[in-house]
């Protein structure tokens, strides 16, 4: 895919199996967000995005949680989550009872009932992230694309959000693709990691196969240490003090 004739990604052929959690890692500018947007049909590209053997339908097959979602200040959490039902409503329709039920369910599953009437501008970072996730969940799409779901959160809330995604995914059989900067967190949650660099797939495999010093250093630089503290590979930055 390319912007203004400049190819920023690919060519690549990536198949994600149903129910899998795929993590996209790579340095800034590697093409992670662009790949997600291409899957959504938002970035100019050649080729197709197939879901279950046919072209993906806008809004119905794939739900997207952007890195920096626009949260209309005065909108209530409930009304925001309700917008997730948009793909299910025709041009001249309005929300059905089922749409309202799905919204209630999404609010409930993310523990947002108590703050359903609050305005978005009053939410904390963690609450806002849950609201965005609830909206994506209300879409009831089989595939969930998450662009840096933890980047605006502290370690604890980041962990909470990923745990939440994991349990939702297991309960609903969702296929999840996450662009994520935190390599250690990525390694602990996902089934499969794809390392992108300059628009190309550099590595693709289990977290233990991809998260190695030899594998990561060409993309991230030499200051990368991978240690194992028992919970899988832990990636830590280390200053290069050789000289």
């Amino acid at each position: 895919m390319s912007f203004d004739g400049v190819r920023v990604l690919g060519p690549l052929d990536l198949a994600v199996s149903s129910g899998q959690w795929l993590g996209l890692i790579g340095p800034n500018g590697a093409g992670k967000s662009t790949l997600l947007k291409t899957a959504l049909g938002m970035a100019p590209h050649r080729g197709t995005v197939d879901v279950g053997g046919r072209n993906s339908r806008a809004g119905l097959d794939i739900a997207w949680m952007p890195q920096r979602p626009l949260l209309p200040a005065q909108m209530s959490v409930a009304n925001y989550v309700l917008l997730g039902r948009t793909p299910h409503i025709g041009y001249i329709g309005s929300e059905s009872r089922h749409d309202l039920r799905s919204t209630e369910l999404a609010l409930h599953r993310l523990g947002l009932e108590k703050i359903a009437g609050r305005e978005l501008s009053t939410l904390s970072g963690g609450e806002a992230q849950r609201a965005v996730l609830a909206r994506a969940l209300a879409q009831e799409a089989p595939i969930l694309l998450l662009d840096e779901p933890t980047s605006s959160l502290d370690i604890g809330h980041g962990l909470d959000v990923l745990e939440m995604i994991d349990s939702l995914r297991k309960a609903d059989g969702l296929t999840v693709v996450t662009a994520i900067h935190d390599l250690t967190l990525a390694g602990q949650f996902v089934d499969r990691l794809v390392l992108l660099d300059k628009g190309r797939v550099v590595a693709d495999g289990l977290p233990s196969e991809v998260l190695t010093e030899d594998g990561l250093r060409p993309s991230y630089g030499v200051g990368i240490r991978v240690v194992d503290i028992g919970d899988g590979p832990t990636v830590i930055p280390a200053r290069n003090r050789d000289d």
């Binding site: 947007k37 959504l40 049909g41 938002m42 339908r57 806008a58 809004g59 119905l60 794939i62 739900a63 997207w64 952007p66 979602p69 626009l70 209309p72 200040a73 005065q74 909108m75 209530s76 959490v77 409930a78 009304n79 989550v81 309700l82 917008l83 997730g84 948009t86 793909p87 409503i89 041009y91 001249i92 309005s94 929300e95 309202l100 919204t103 209630e104 609010l107 409930h108 009932e113 108590k114 359903a116 009437g117 609050r118 879409q139």
Partner: protein
């Protein structure tokens, strides 16, 4: 406001029954007052009797003379209806523009309709052509200006709304400059053009009402149907697209409907400023963020506001009249500051 149970909390925003009752009452009171009050004094009981008499199934005796009836039905009535139509169109078009451009300062003249129509009217008046041509040429001028704005924005930078708005600014500036040049060359027409620009409802008849009506109906219909999407667009273009909304199509439809109706309104009534901004903002201040409420209520309150402004315009210096654009701006400018203050306080 906190809603504790999810069944209460999860409901799309709608205009409540109470809001409808208030809106219709306000509209009715201002409408009837506008019919009762004018430069020629008509007996109140007679006018009310004659109005009720016009309703189907009612037959009421009234003591209005034929001249008085003519004043009521052929002069005052079309003027009041026209005020309502123009106000409704400008307000709802403004709300639509604000929605698709996610810009609270957008008004229906944003993309150059007003400047294009003004240039068209100036050309007709300056060339000494028949006054009957003013409206159609102004209509074409307004649409042409928006078409040029669209074409320009395509050439300079893709499909972002910023390039569209900037192109609109450029087109409006160009049209206005050309208009000023024409005026400089034809001083004798200055007064006539000036009067047109300030807007007037004084000379309209039922024919003008019928000209504007189809545009008003179609535009209102399109905006009412699409108002749900305006709330989705608040999430931004990309998220809206990810939710399955065809953003360019929705934006095009809204702009097209609003522009057609605005051009039609401007061509029959001149440039009446501020209605497209202050009415949607008042509704927004009173009812909140949702276009599902703002669009329908803007229609009603736009109609009521312009009828009221016209009532003021034709009574405060009677028997002379103030240009209606002066009245709307006079009310609009201070109000606009109030809106800005409130927005600053809440953000």
């Amino acid at each position: 406001m906190r809603l504790e149970t999810p069944t209460q909390a999860v409901a799309p925003r709608r205009v409540g029954a109470g809001s409808w009752v208030v809106a219709v009452l306000v509209l009715a009171v201002i409408g009837v007052a506008s019919l009762l009050i004018g430069s020629v004094e008509l007996p109140v009981a007679g006018v009310l009797g004659a109005l009720v008499d016009k309703l189907p199934l009612f037959s009421v005796d009234h003591d209005l003379t034929d001249t008085e009836l003519r004043i009521l039905y052929d002069i005052r009535f079309p003027r009041v209806v026209m005020g309502a139509l123009v106000g409704a169109v400008l307000a709802v078009a403004g709300a639509g523009y604000q929605g698709v451009f996610r810009n609270p300062l957008a008004d229906p003249y944003l993309l150059g309709v007003a400047a294009g129509a003004g240039l068209g009217a100036t050309l007709v008046i300056g060339l000494g052509a028949a006054t009957a041509l003013i409206a159609p040429v102004a209509f074409v001028g307004g649409l042409a200006a928006v078409a040029v704005t669209y074409a320009l924005s395509r050439t300079v930078g893709g499909r972002t709304t910023t390039s569209l708005i900037l192109a609109g600014v450029a087109v409006a500036a160009f049209a206005t400059a050309f208009q000023t040049f024409l005026l400089q060359r034809n001083y004798d027409t200055l007064r006539q053009v000036y009067a047109w620009i300030l807007g007037r409802l004084g000379t309209v008849g039922w024919g003008d009402v019928l000209t504007l009506l189809p545009y008003a109906v179609v535009a209102s219909g399109v905006l009412l149907v699409l108002r749900r999407f305006l709330d989705v667009l608040a999430l931004g273009d990309e998220e809206s697209a990810a939710l399955g909304v065809n953003v360019p199509r929705v934006r095009r439809l809204v702009v097209l409907a609003a522009t057609l109706a605005t051009a039609a309104a401007v061509s029959v009534s001149g440039l009446i400023g501020f209605v497209g901004i202050i009415v949607p903002h008042t509704v927004r201040l009173l009812t909140g963020w949702s276009y599902r409420v703002i669009i329908p209520l803007s229609l009603v309150y736009g109609a009521a506001f312009l009828m009221l402004a016209d009532l003021i315009a034709r009574t405060v210096v009677a028997p002379a009249e103030l240009p209606i654009g002066v009245v709307t701006a006079f009310l609009g400018a201070p109000f606009f500051l109030l809106v800005l203050r409130t927005m600053k306080g809440s953000s």
